[in-house]
Amino acid sequence: MSARRIFARPARRAAIAPYVWMALFFLVPFIFVVKISLSQTAIAQPPYTPVFDLTGGVGAIKAAFAALSLDNFKLLLSDDLYVFSYLRSLLVAVVSTSILLLIGYPIAYGMARLPARWQSVAMMLVIVPFWTSFLIRIYAWINILQHDGLLNQILLALHLVSTPVVWLSTDSAMYLGIVYSYLPFMILPLYATLAKIDPALLEAANDLGSSPRQAFWLVTFPLSLPGVGAGVLLCFIPIVGEFVIPDLLAGSDSLMIGQTLWLEFFTNKDWPVASSAAVVLLLLLLAPLLLYDRLQRRQLEAR
């Protein structure tokens, strides 16, 4: 037996503890979400009527199945508030992911063309804000965008506007916040693929008579598509469920689904409706999640 195979056996055993942990705290909780999404709202603590009580034996389980209700899901589909929340979340995610790609690509491209020595410095500079607190970065923008904030002061001083502009509680502020927060997530996978492209390919394109622009669109861009896919998924999925940024920067007239879910849960104390909203959100994201999982696995396990 090869050394590699002998090594594999104890290595597999290392999976036990994290496996049990993730099953217990990641997989099992979803069962509770589904269960509570099917139960009735109640004014109690916790605020729902439990549907599965295993202590009651078979009869109780049968009764429990009879009591399951899809009312919460019917409510989600019939109430405009929820339908609009889902649509708005998808729209916001599509628009901001597109902006992120447009801004992130040139930056990643610039990084990949730096001299090798500078590339790791540039990568560090992009990663550092990602480590800095998310909440702090949004707060930093509130500082700048508020009524008498720096942006308005500059605009007034330059006589570009005559009265302060309202920036906070607008969609533009929200998009700015999202793009700002997720930019590193877009740049890093793009940079990772762009940096791996063999420069000899571009030289060959050049020798064969294509202009730098043609070479970019015929060689570089197609080869960077896996990075584009990773970056897009890495931004799109969490943005759909985003709560903090729209809550602090956007107006309150139209909500994203993350905000609606939060409101149902913390303000209205309607746990069953919040759970069904989470189930539907998860179903919406299932396809991109599976795609992302495949990409991630290929990237980490192909070596």
């Binding site: 090594f7 070479a215 998924l233």
Partner: protein, 271 residues
């Protein structure tokens, strides 16, 4: 001649400079204003440490900071243990039953919207009647951050030359010995980097902590968030600057650690 197509163009330099300015300017402005003497956040009243003093006299804020710190240290340590084990199993375990489910469970939380993760964990804690507070938040953060640790360590393990372990075993080490004396020292820097990433992610989290904590045990982000909703306060600028300083120290240590290990193989992970 052919080299010409590989040179940095003015466009490349401009987009890099603008991109980095965009990423850093807001944070720099925040830090500068934390030293502002004026109560009005936007009027410059000279340099002062007044708002730092205010923070150190704010008992509720200090309690929250202490709670966050304890949660971050405990959950980062647990997450590093579990995440490293998971990375070893995935990159050295060859095929095993349930592998697809295992890696799926580890990669999904990286992008899963936090409202879903937070809500589902809370429902579990309520169902088993767990008292919500320090331990529930710690468990929730461990679950999220161990996935990041697993990705960081796994990408290092993937770049490692496996013939080193095999040579150790050919020379008579059993697998445990080979791992402890050859593999572990080589991946130690990435394990350290994983711990620090887990620490900062836990320190930063608002959504999952809001769902899983109980009354009376707010974390720092929860307190900051409820203050920020009421508007900009200079004290918050001071707290944020302190957090940035703490994270900066962590980053310097982490980059030192990863420089030690990064002879070969750039991380393929988004980190």
């Amino acid at each position: 001649m052919a080299r010409a197509s590989n040179k940095l163009s003015r466009f490349n330099v401009t987009s890099l400079a603008l991109g980095l300015a965009f990423l850093y300017l807001p944070i720099v402005i925040l830090v500068i204003y934390s030293f502002n003497a004026s109560r009005l956040v936007t009027v410059w009243g000279g340099w002062s440490l007044r708002w730092y003093g205010e923070f150190f006299n704010d008992g509720a804020m200090l309690d929250a900071a202490w709670m966050s710190f304890r949660v971050a240290v405990t959950s980062a340590t647990l997450a590093t243990l579990l995440g490293t084990l998971a990375a070893v199993a995935l990159s050295r375990g060859e095929r095993f039953r349930g592998r697809t489910l295992f890696s799926g469970m580890l990669y999904a939380p990286l992008v899963m919207p936090e409202v879903i993760t937070g809500l589902s964990l809370l429902l579990l804690f309520v169902a088993v009647n767990a008292e919500r507070g320090f331990w529930t938040v710690t468990i929730a953060h461990t679950t999220l951050t161990m996935c990041f640790v697993a990705v960081v360590v796994q990408s290092r393990l993937g770049a490692l030359d496996r013939s080193l372990e095999e040579a150790a075993m050919d020379l008579g080490c059993d697998p445990a010995r080979a791992f402890l004396s050859v593999t572990l020292p080589l991946i130690l820097p990435s394990i350290a980097a994983g711990w620090m990433l887990a620490f900062t992610l836990s320190l930063d989290d608002l959504v999952i902590a809001s769902f899983t904590t109980g009354p009376g045990s707010a974390t720092l982000p929860i307190r900051i968030y409820s203050e920020v909703r009421l508007g900009v306060k200079p004290e918050i600028n001071a707290i944020c600057t302190l957090i940035i300083a703490l994270i900066a120290i962590v980053i310097v240590v982490a980059s030192f650690a990863s420089k030690l290990s990064r002879e070969q193989g750039e991380s393929a992970a988004p980190l």
